[in-house]
């Protein structure tokens, strides 16, 4: 399982952290934009996740998965299917 804590860690590493956002709070249903992450920040993080876990996410995942919960769903679904 890829957890929200795994995501926090990689977001920090791949894109940094917006001082105005509370990344350690309840973020599952907060939109990435509100957390201070633009599409490039997500692109950088998603490509790292794909690489680390040897999975392939849909091309439109960055524009479609607008919250951590939706991104986690995509990641865990992808982990269950053959790459």
């Amino acid at each position: 399982m890829f957890t929200v804590d795994d995501l926090r860690l990689l977001l920090r590493e791949c894109a940094g952290e917006d001082e105005a956002a509370d990344l350690d709070g309840q973020i599952l249903d907060t939109e990435f934009e509100e957390l201070g992450y633009d599409s490039l920040a997500l692109f950088n993080t998603v490509s790292r996740i794909e690489r680390d876990r040897a999975i392939t996410l849909p091309d439109d995942v960055v524009s479609e998965a607008k919250t951590p919960r939706r991104l986690l769903d995509e990641i865990n679904a992808a982990a269950g299917r053959p790459a």
Partner: protein, 400 residues
């Protein structure tokens, strides 16, 4: 065109980060030139540089760190300082913009990601490679960070670019902008960037920091590259007056740029014409110039051209000549902007900073190079001269 005023200065230099530290070190004659530590220079013909080793990461939001080259971080520090110094209210940001001078962009970042691509594959390349190594990146990052949503541009003319950026910003002020942040912070101290620079054959191969960059000296053998530069907040004179900051550090009263004739043509280089045009446009007679900040190439042939030109334009030893860049090295797109900052600080504090390490001045009959100790005297007008590799000449006049 009304002369814009400089209301804020931000400096990152090898001998001092921040205006106060830089200026104090410069008056003390403290050099920032040393053996490179950013990477191992052992295999290269040249091993000295003016490095800026500051913990920029501690001063910037972590969101910016994965997406910035070292030189962009330095530029962001200078922008912070210049805008805080100016203290202007920028409203919605549409009447404020940025012009930076650049050379190659973020070479160190670019090299790292190209290495990732080559060794490990495309999946290992940062998405931020898309802009972090791009030459106008500093203009973009500064405008985003400070919400400067007006005109944005980048000029590329090596050393001359630092002056050209200020001139372009002046044009934007004439066109309706109220504040422009302009100048240059540059640098590419990584193996890739280093190789590009030393292949020019103009870089000093001396190993002793005090013997490597000796412009206008009998022992001149080239120059030492460095990183850093300065950004200036330029404001429309009327806008500045209305908000009570008067002429700030001084006004930019004249500027000109020329291009050298084809090598081998036998025609005179364009440097003299740039200086004469800048003075004419400023309405300043040579006798009214109190100090010249020289390009100070360190290349013997180029030094000779500049020394002769200054002797002809101002008379033999007709004006004090400053070369504080002997303490920083030449900073690509950032060098001339730093010289303008130094010129404005000279006007403000009535003192000409010294050139260091000059033991055997070669042109003593022609130029009055200020060497060793700062020289105190009242100063109202300074001329800054810059030459960029490839034939660029620019000159800019600032007046208190």
């Amino acid at each position: 065109m009304t002369a814009p005023v400089v209301t804020g200065i931000g400096v990152v230099a090898p001998n001092g980060v921040g205006v106060a530290d830089y200026w104090a070190a410069t008056l003390r004659g403290e050099s920032g030139i040393a053996r490179i530590t950013r990477f191992d220079p052992a295999g290269y013909s040249a091993q000295l540089a003016g490095q800026v080793d500051v913990d920029a990461a501690a001063a910037l939001p972590s969101r910016l760190l994965p997406q910035t080259d070292h030189m962009t971080r330095l530029a962001l520090l200078a922008a912070d300082e210049a805008l805080a110094d100016a203290g202007a209210e920028l409203g919605d940001g549409f009447r404020a913009g940025v012009v930076t001078a650049a050379s190659g962009g973020g070479f160190e970042f670019g090299q790292r990601e190209l290495e990732n691509l080559w060794r490990r594959g495309g999946a290992y390349v940062s998405a931020y490679q898309s802009f972090a190594w791009f030459y106008p990146v500093n203009t973009g990052q500064i405008s985003i960070r400070h919400n400067l949503r007006g005109p944005g541009a980048t000029v590329v003319a090596e050393q001359a670019g630092g002056l050209d950026a200020l001139a372009k910003a002046r044009g934007q002020l004439a066109g309706g902008a109220e504040l422009m942040l302009a100048g240059g912070v540059d640098g590419s101290l990584c193996p890739w960037g280093w190789l590009c620079q030393i292949s020019s054959g103009r870089i000093s191969t001396a190993s002793e920091p005090g013997r490597a960059y000796l412009p206008f000296d009998e022992d001149a053998t080239g120059f030492v590259p460095g990183e850093g530069g300065a950004l200036l907040a330029l404001e429309d004179a009327e806008v500045a007056r209305r908000r009570g900051v008067g002429d700030g550090y001084g006004r930019i009263t004249g500027y000109a740029a020329t291009f050298d004739p084809r090598p081998g043509s036998g025609r005179e280089p364009g440097l003299r014409r740039a200086v004469e045009l800048a003075l004419a446009r400023a309405g300043t007679r040579p006798s009214e110039v109190d100090v010249v900040f020289a390009d100070a190439s360190g290349n013997p042939a180029a030094d000779r051209v500049e020394a002769h030109m200054l002797a002809e334009a101002f008379g033999p030893r007709g004006v004090p000549v400053a070369a504080p860049k002997t303490m920083t090295g030449r900073l690509l797109g950032g060098g001339a902007a730093l010289d303008v900052a130094a010129a404005l600080l000279s006007l403000r504090h009535s003192v000409v900073p010294p050139a260091v390490h000059i033991g055997r001045p070669k042109y003593s009959d022609e130029i009055d190079l200020v060497v060793g100790e700062p020289r105190e005297r009242p100063l109202s007008t300074a001329l800054v001269v810059a030459r960029g590799h490839g034939g660029f000449n620019s000159a800019l006049v600032v007046t208190k």
